[in-house]
């Protein structure tokens, strides 16, 4: 991206302030915010003040990341040999910051959150910092630590809705399954370390390449898939997701579905990117098939089970499982183009899924239930919310010209041709994905039908708080703009994917 205005800006002040820590400057801002949040709450006793402070810091961090990407060459670099700021990590940081922004905005007025405001925002910010560290990591250990930061914060966030026993239950389940996954991941990483003697991702590649197919490597990689499969809610590591999304406060569910899940993908991309380059070896082929099988099963199970859900949060949970299946196509195909598709879908998914969750949150705050039948006649009671929901759901189903269609198009087509050459191995996967998105229309249309065509018992107008309308409007704009004019973002994504792959030594 070359906007002359930003290019010419003198940003040496950033280097002066942050010194050698420039590559992790955006994270530092967020960590500062996380530390200060409880303090501000103690001083002001106002939840909203903390929320606004958090928003401010997220925006600062976002602007910082933005200008750092725009002036690329001046800021790309490494910190302590552990974290790097490059086009890929910069873009992913922006993604996570966007998620945090939407989540905080949606939490400002949320009724399910009675107290613990200071802690709540600190947890969100802490988790966001963790996700950003994962995006910047160039070392297995830092990825692991980053993911753990997010996980531990999320357990607490889920359980924070103290007046609801479902939340405590969900938090507990989430933590137990999370602990198992952590153990698996750590086991996998130690296997890799045992075989290769290094934790630096770029150094692991050549060693594995030299070794070829050995059981320790296979077990190591599969354990890591399982560990992060939990984060992305891939079948069969998905079972926690519906319970947790249903039990947690709705903004938290949105955060998990859009932020934490994307982090899982970033971690998988980082670790398996090595294989992208080695894609012709036996090992890579085996891993590709593994991912393909997970992808196909994940999207199919997610979509089919979603059909029979009656609670909208559970339905959205299964729909997110299905979306994870789509994104997994990139790991099966393992091409730069597929990776672009996946990253693009990650971006569009943030807006459509977070938007849907924010609407659910807004309606819960306004006194509506969580069941789909509670949405009957919503088009009359809250026309904007209903229309936005329609856009989000149709975008999730992949109906043009909304964002979900454009990104699915790129993603699915990547299964058929790989960087200019036709590959026939994955056509079946593209077909499974297309069929799945046709199936998904069924349960999305059901909600639209409830909102627009059926009539409910109550005809009263629903009063939606202004901040929700604003948040939803932001997501609507995202869903439309990314659908109609995806060019600039795709260009950035292309650059990021290219950069990530070009750095792999062989």
């Amino acid at each position: 991206m070359s906007i002359a205005f930003i290019d010419n800006l003198d940003l040496s002040v950033i280097s002066t302030v942050f010194g050698s820590t420039v590559p992790i400057a955006p994270q530092i801002v967020i960590i500062l915010a996380a530390i200060l949040s409880p303090a501000i709450y103690l001083l002001t006793k106002k939840g909203k003040a903390v929320g606004l402070f958090a928003l401010l810091m997220i925006v600062i961090s976002g602007i910082l990341t933005g200008v750092m990407i725009a002036q690329g060459e001046n800021f790309y670099g490494e910190y302590a040999g552990l974290f790097a700021f490059d086009p890929f990590s910069g873009l992913m940081m922006l993604l996570f910051l966007a998620v945090a922004f939407i989540t905080v905005l949606a939490s400002l007025n949320y009724s399910e959150m009675t107290k613990y405001k200071g802690e709540y925002y600190a947890l969100i910010l802490g988790a966001t910092a963790g996700m950003m560290f994962v995006a910047g990591s160039s070392n297995l250990l830092t990825i692991f630590v980053g993911v753990e930061v997010v996980s531990i914060a999320s357990y607490a966030m889920v359980a924070l809705k103290k007046n609801d026993p479902r939340a405590a239950e969900a938090g507990f389940k989430y933590m137990v399954i999370g602990a198992i996954s952590t153990a698996l991941t750590l086991f996998g990483m130690s296997m890799l370390y045992g075989v290769t003697g290094t934790l630096v991702i770029n150094e692991i590649g050549p060693v594995i390449n030299g070794l070829g197919f050995t059981m320790p490597v296979v077990i190591g990689l599969v354990s890591i898939i399982a560990g992060y499969g939990f984060k992305i809610a891939a079948v069969p590591f998905h079972m926690w997701a519906p319970d947790v999304y249903e039990g947690a406060a709705t903004p938290v569910s949105g955060f998990l579905a859009t932020g934490s899940k994307k982090m899982g993908f970033v971690a998988l991309f980082k670790i398996f990117i090595v294989l992208f380059v080695l894609a012709s070896t036996n090992l890579a082929e085996s891993m590709q098939w593994t991912f393909a099988v997970i992808a196909a099963i994940t999207m199919t199970v997610g979509n089919l089970v979603a059909i029979s859900q009656t609670n909208i949060k559970r339905m959205l949970a299964y729909s997110s499982i299905a979306q994870a299946g789509y994104i997994l196509i990139a790991l099966a195909v393992m091409s730069q183009y597929a990776m672009q598709g996946a990253m693009f879908h990650m971006f569009t998914h943030v807006f459509m899924k977070a938007g849907a969750f924010v609407i659910v949150a807004a309606l819960i705050t306004a006194g509506l239930g969580e069941r789909i039948e509670d949405y009957r006649g919503l088009a009359k009671r809250a026309p904007f919310m209903a229309f936005a929901m329609l856009l989000f759901l149709f975008s999730l189903a992949g109906i043009p010209p909304l964002a979900g269609f454009t990104s699915k198009f790129v993603l699915f087509s990547s299964a058929i041709y790989v960087d200019g050459a036709v590959v026939t191995d994955w056509i079946w996967l593209a077909l499974v994905a297309i069929l799945n998105s046709a199936i998904s229309l069924y349960y999305y249309a059901r909600v639209v039908k409830a909102m627009y065509i059926e009539t409910g018992e109550s005809q009263e107008k629903v009063k939606v708080k202004g901040v929700y309308t604003f948040t939803v409007l932001l997501c609507v704009i995202g869903v439309i703009v990314l659908g109609v004019y995806p060019g600039p973002l795709l260009e950035l994504i292309g650059q990021a994917a290219g950069d990530l792959i070009s750095k792999i030594p062989l």
Partner: protein
């Protein structure tokens, strides 16, 4: 001048959609005048742009007008967004915007009592028009698909506009909501195939631009099998959208929407999208004669199949719905038969065959234009009747002709036209369709049985059409006054009757266009892509000469007149009792028709039992079988009988067990793939 601004045709209605959506409630008629204005501008722009194109240099040398800008770049593939104007897009633009304009004007009267809901109505129909205009001027398949889906979405919303139950009509589909959903999901089935077809095209051509996909050199370079598969998939998309057998069943149910919407869907937009898709894709369809013959047979079969269901239906709108299906079948028959001849001609280098094929193409497109006029007229007329009589059941009508002079006369003109009464518009195109089916036999090219079969389907349908249209007309406007007639309000307001009169003029006259070079203009679209310059050997008067020197034309005229007579005898003069033929509604065939050949049931069985059943099953598997099995296992292993109550939530242990099972399965997959690939 205007040609460069042709993108305004979808954009203006889109703006109207936004304006009405936001401010409709504050405007007179809920924004109806804005919608009319939008359609008017779209029509004027189409008219001027078409005039410029047809009189311009590009048309003279058989080239399309193309304007594109980059939309998105993915990998090495560039997807553009732009306009592609040739004679086919011109005629489509013209009739779609003109008929929409008529329908919008008519809506002011018809939807007048809808109060606040009018805003939604006018916003949605404007978006509908956007979809159709965008569809016909798109410069590539992906862009077309985007507009195609916008139309699908609008049809979904509009069919469900009245979500209360209709008292009349088939029991299977009384609910507008379920009709809307059915329309959306059934056409979606076609869309999925369409999209898969697009992937194959993109894969083969590395582009979806018409200019590239239709270039003969590019077509020659790609794998013919892949192209055949792609065309079949694209055709499946057309079958869904144009409601051809076996995806036809959503269209009769779609009658649950307001009548104006039915007119819009049947005459100007939506279902014409499928025909347009095949006509547009002609250059790739003609690469394989087998695909074309399939198109022709699907069309021919739908024509006769749908006409049979119109024979005994008592609902005035449904009769028209079945007739749309049947007429769309005609269009596919013509396109398919023409395409087959052209495909054979291209393979053998026989120019006569290519010219005959072009004639079939003309017949299909021409019938689409004429059908747009008379079907819009008939639907709006039936709307006028329903508006006045307050029912859709023809048994309760009868004798309405005295109370509604203009409606009854315009409907008579529409019925004569669709039945193919000589010199009215339907006559020209219908006989051109039949002419195409006869062509091989008449030009000594060997009368293949396939074409004989197509001709028989066509001519039998012609007889049935004349009969059921006049059954409808006599039942509604003549005979004894029905129960609803007595309470009827009389003639509809001017804003409804004026569009009827205008459309009636076109239903009489649009067919004459063929005498004045319309066929040349239409074939020019093929010349643009196929490279055979000016393939029209059948021009103006020669077509008329062909039609009137052909003995079969007179056979079809006689059959038409017989059909009309039979309708008159049975439902006006009542000297022939219809009950004699169907054992008073007890015969098996009669019931088969009323039940729509059990298609709704078949659909339900498939979608419910299979789709929902599978979903239920998977859910059951997820909850019961898998959890249950793991429970059983863990019980056996751990030896505790109360593992279920050990954890409050019941199944956390199963989740954990699944994580480990997953790991083991994944390792197994990795090793298995490795071994299969010949490792170790």
């Amino acid at each position: 001048m205007m040609l460069e601004y042709v993108w305004l045709t979808p954009l203006i209605p889109l703006l109207c959609f936004v304006i009405i959506g936001f401010f409709g409630n504050k405007m007179p008629e809920g924004g109806g005048y804005v919608a009319i204005f939008g359609a008017l501008v779209a029509f004027v722009v189409s008219l001027v742009a078409s005039y410029e194109y047809v009189t311009g240099d590009l048309f003279a040398i058989s080239l399309p007008f193309v304007q594109e800008m980059n939309w998105l770049t993915i990998g090495t593939y560039e997807i553009n967004f732009g306009v592609y104007i040739d004679s086919l897009s011109c005629v489509m633009m013209l009739f779609a915007s003109f008929i929409s304009l008529m329908i919008f004007v008519y809506s002011v009267g018809y939807m007048g009592h809808e109060e606040k809901k009018r805003r939604r109505y006018y916003a949605e129909v404007s978006l509908f028009l956007t979809g159709m205009m965008g569809l016909v001027i798109s410069s590539n398949y992906l862009e077309m698909f985007v507009f195609w889906e916008i139309m699908g979405l609008c049809s979904y919303l509009l069919i469900g506009f009245w979500s209360f139950k209709h008292g009349e009509g088939d029991a299977a589909s009384q609910n507008a909501a379920s009709a809307a959903k059915k329309a959306f999901i059934v056409t979606r089935l076609g869309d999925v195939c369409f999209m898969a077809g697009l992937f194959i095209l993109l894969n083969e051509f590395h582009s979806l631009d018409y200019a590239i996909v239709f270039a003969q050199a590019n077509i020659a370079a790609v794998d013919p099998t892949a192209l055949t598969v792609a065309t079949l998939l694209i055709f499946a998309g057309a079958v869904g959208k144009s409601a051809q057998f076996p995806l036809h069943d959503w269209l009769p149910d779609a009658m649950a929407g307001p009548t104006t919407v039915s007119a819009l869907i049947h005459a100007a937009t939506m279902v014409k999208g499928g025909v347009y898709l095949v006509a547009r894709s002609f250059p790739i369809f003609v690469q394989n004669p087998d695909v074309m013959i399939l198109v022709a047979f699907i069309g021919g079969f739908t024509a006769i199949f749908a006409a049979s269901m119109a024979l005994n239906n008592m609902n005035i709108k449904r009769v028209l719905a079945y007739s749309t299906l049947s007429q769309l079948g005609y269009m596919f028959l013509a396109l398919g038969a023409g395409g087959y001849l052209m495909a054979i001609g291209m393979q053998t280098g026989n120019n006569d065959l290519i010219a005959l094929g072009a004639l079939g193409y003309v017949a299909g497109v021409f019938h689409m234009i004429n059908h747009a006029f008379f079907k819009a007229l008939l639907f709006l007329g039936s709307g006028s009747v329903i508006h006045s009589a307050g029912t859709e059941d023809m048994r309760k009508m009868g004798g309405l002709g005295k109370k509604m002079k203009i409606t009854s006369i315009t409907m008579l003109i529409g019925s004569l036209s669709i039945a193919g009464f000589p010199l009215l518009s339907g006559f020209w195109s219908k006989d051109l369709v039949l002419e195409t089916a006869l062509a091989p036999a008449q030009h000594g090219l060997g009368a293949e049985w396939t074409f004989t079969a197509l001709f028989i389907m066509g001519i039998v349908t012609a007889f049935m059409t004349a009969f059921y249209m006049f059954r409808m007309w006599f039942m509604t406007f003549r005979g004894k006054e029905g129960e609803a007639t007595r309470h009827a309000h009389g003639e509809s307001p001017k804003t409804m009757t004026v569009p009827l009169i205008i459309l009636a003029v076109f239903a009489v006259g649009s067919g004459l266009g063929i005498l004045f070079g319309l066929s040349n203009a239409i074939t020019e679209s093929l010349s643009c892509t196929l490279g055979y310059l000016h393939i029209h050997t059948h021009t103006g008067m020669t077509i008329a000469e062909d039609i009137f020197t052909n003995v079969w034309t007179y056979v079809s005229i006689v059959l038409t007149l017989l059909g009309i007579c039979l309708g008159w005898l049975m439902y006006c003069k009542k000297s022939v009792d219809p009950g004699r033929f169907n054992k008073n509604g007890e015969s098996r065939f009669y019931r088969l028709l009323t039940k729509r050949y059990y298609f709704p049931q078949i659909y339900n069985a498939i979608s419910w039992k299979l789709g929902y059943g599978v979903a239920k099953g998977v859910d059951y598997m997820d909850k019961e079988v898998i959890d249950g099995t793991v429970n059983g296992l863990s019980n056996a292993v751990v030896g505790t009988g109360d593992s279920l109550s050990a954890v409050q939530t019941g199944n956390l242990n199963n989740y954990a067990a699944w994580v480990y099972t997953g790991v083991i399965v994944l390792v197994a997959i990795v090793v298995a793939v490795f071994i299969v690939n010949g490792g170790i």
